[in-house]
Subunit: 204 residues, 4 copies
DNA sequence: AATGAATGAGGCTTCATTCAT
DNA sequence: GATGAATGAAGCCTCATTCAT
């Protein structure tokens, strides 16, 4: 009486993940709908039952990626009370996300960044708002720093600028790791970085 | 009566610069050959007198960009003897390049990075070897750090890791600036960053 | 406990009528099977339980439309004995059919005509034989005219040609009405037309 | 120094005519861009150098068709002073256009009508305004009738309604001819029709 | 009997590249 | 050398039809 029953939400997610794998492998621009369909193990036309088109998939992947990170980050941060521990957790956590799935999605970041930058003014695709994501991210860290200052652990400092620096260092290191996964020790570099960072802000 | 004398090399360069402007404006993937021709003020077919195709232009732009930076960086560094001054110059110089031409070419970096990452193994397009560029870059900074250590100015430290961190911070800050040029003070953030960085490595 | 009893013939008819409504609204070419299913309030797949495909529905609608007209016309004509009355009834009746259902199906005529014309040779789809329908239609009118001539009411004339003219005028007026329902008074135009037509053929 | 020189306007026209031939042969809906390209003896992509897309070609053909008719009609009418002669010329002329090119474009009318009707409200494609064309057409004829009335040749009558009837008869006869070119004598039917029409309006 | 999820052939359109002038 | 008209491979998307449930 009824046709095949599918969990539409779940299948949509599966397609999106397949798309992300293809994006990561060959870049969003060179990813063909056929590639995505094949990777998802479905027919070309089926994709359109779940997405409006290629841009829609990209936007979904974009938001999924950053939302996942944001959610996890928020959870991580609130799991501790000590600002230093919080920062430590934040960095470790960021790396873990990046390295998870055997770093499968790391390459995507470049496409997300590239597209996110290009769409920074476009009112049309406000779905992709990379700047807002960074603003949020800085706010998280800024709050931790302010906390640390108020509790006398950190020196008085430009919390917003320092947040930018910490994020920058993390992004930049990840970038270098993507280019040379085998030879670049991301974990170690990040540890050294955070060490120096904390050294510079903790009251001696 | 000699034929019109055109400096082929110069014209090729002009086309490449036109291409970079288009790449920056709409992304390499969405840049059409027609756009480039129009921007360069020439006919579409003429481009093929100077380049083999779109990929060729991209590769040329890629190498030009990084070569320019590398050359200038090398020149900058050697203009001083003091490691601290050298690092200062390096950072200031990097920003200047980035902000030059009113930051016209900043957006391109994302495409370069994206493509550079994707081609990290590709034996075919060894022309684009982003990793090697980063290796070189780390080497420059590493050398400065080593110099500083030997002359007793800097503490003993993992020079390679510290180089990575410095580059990472610079890249990451630039990224944040691209996304919000009006509201993000790149110069200030970089100054604060370098200040903290030097603080951490200079012997007290 | 007998299974739900559905009058297959009736449901088929319902689907066809739904299809006609969609055809009328957006044209047969742009009518999607989904539209028809939605309009009929059933599932897309169900249509195929009653029809072989879209062409089948179109053919069915085509024949239904003209058969309905033909049947009704025949009934109308035989309800009177006087040739003049017959022609009057014929015209009034044709208009009524056209204007019925608030002219819902009027737009369809164009698609029927277009497709009917295109298939004028096609041995395959002999189901759609618009020319035959017109031949029949002319025969009806021709017979009435002959009747009138024999009973001395009408002047001697080319009955076949005059039939064509009457049909032509009716078709053409309907066409003009379709294009401007609000401003074109079809009833009045038809009355004037028939008045002139009868004037020309009735013995003075 | 310069590429192939082409008369763009002329080539555009050629493509449009090729398209009309294809439209006539298989209907606008079933006409593929490939068919048009082949018919025009050019590559598929070349069409897009002259038209924005399929709809654009259709609209161009539509307007060309009616504009041609309108222009020629206007010229024909003004070539005489006598209302009766004018009407005669108008009818003969209309048939000639229809039968010209061996009636190659006759079938198109159905698609034009169908599409013109469907677009009667669409503000978007005001390019295709069939109703306006009919309004103009009725005006031409109406003016002739008024002329005849004023000069005492025609009886007083509803000029607008009579115009509609004349156009209707012409359209309707053409329609019947399209369906059975071999067996239907359009010229004769039109003559008989006009004869009756004039009989009805000329003062005895 | 009824359904709608899945499909892929087929169509439209884009655009890098070629080449006649 | 320069050009832009011409091209067709390639990609995105539509939608009639199938079929498992």
């Amino acid at each position: 009486m009824a046709p095949r029953i599918v969990n539409k939400e779940q299948k949509k997610n599966e397609i999106m993940l397949a798309a992300m794998r293809v994006f990561a492998a060959k870049g969003a621009a060179k990813a063909k709908m056929t590639d995505i369909a094949t990777e998802a193990g479905i027919g070309k036309g089926t994709i359109y039952e779940y997405f409006h088109g290629k841009e829609d998939i990209f936007a979904a992947a974009f938001n999924y990626h950053f939302q996942t990170i944001e959610d996890a980050t928020r959870a991580t941060i609130t799991s501790s009370k000590d600002p230093v521990t919080k920062l430590n957790l934040l960095v470790q956590h960021s790396l873990r996300i990046f390295l998870s799935d055997s770093g499968e999605f790391a390459e995507i970041m470049m496409d997300f960044w590239a597209e996110g930058i290009r769409n920074k003014d476009s009112k049309i695709l406000k779905i992709i708002d990379l700047n807002q994501i960074y603003i949020n991210y800085r706010k998280y860290i800024s709050d931790i720093l302010t906390e640390g200052i108020q509790s006398g652990i950190f020196r008085g400092l430009d919390t917003n600028a320092m947040s930018s620096v910490l994020i920058a260092a993390l992004d930049g290191l990840s970038l270098q790791w993507i280019m040379a996964r085998e030879t670049f020790d991301l974990q170690k570099a990040a540890d050294i970085m955070l060490d120096g960072f904390l050294n510079g802000i903790i009251k001696s």
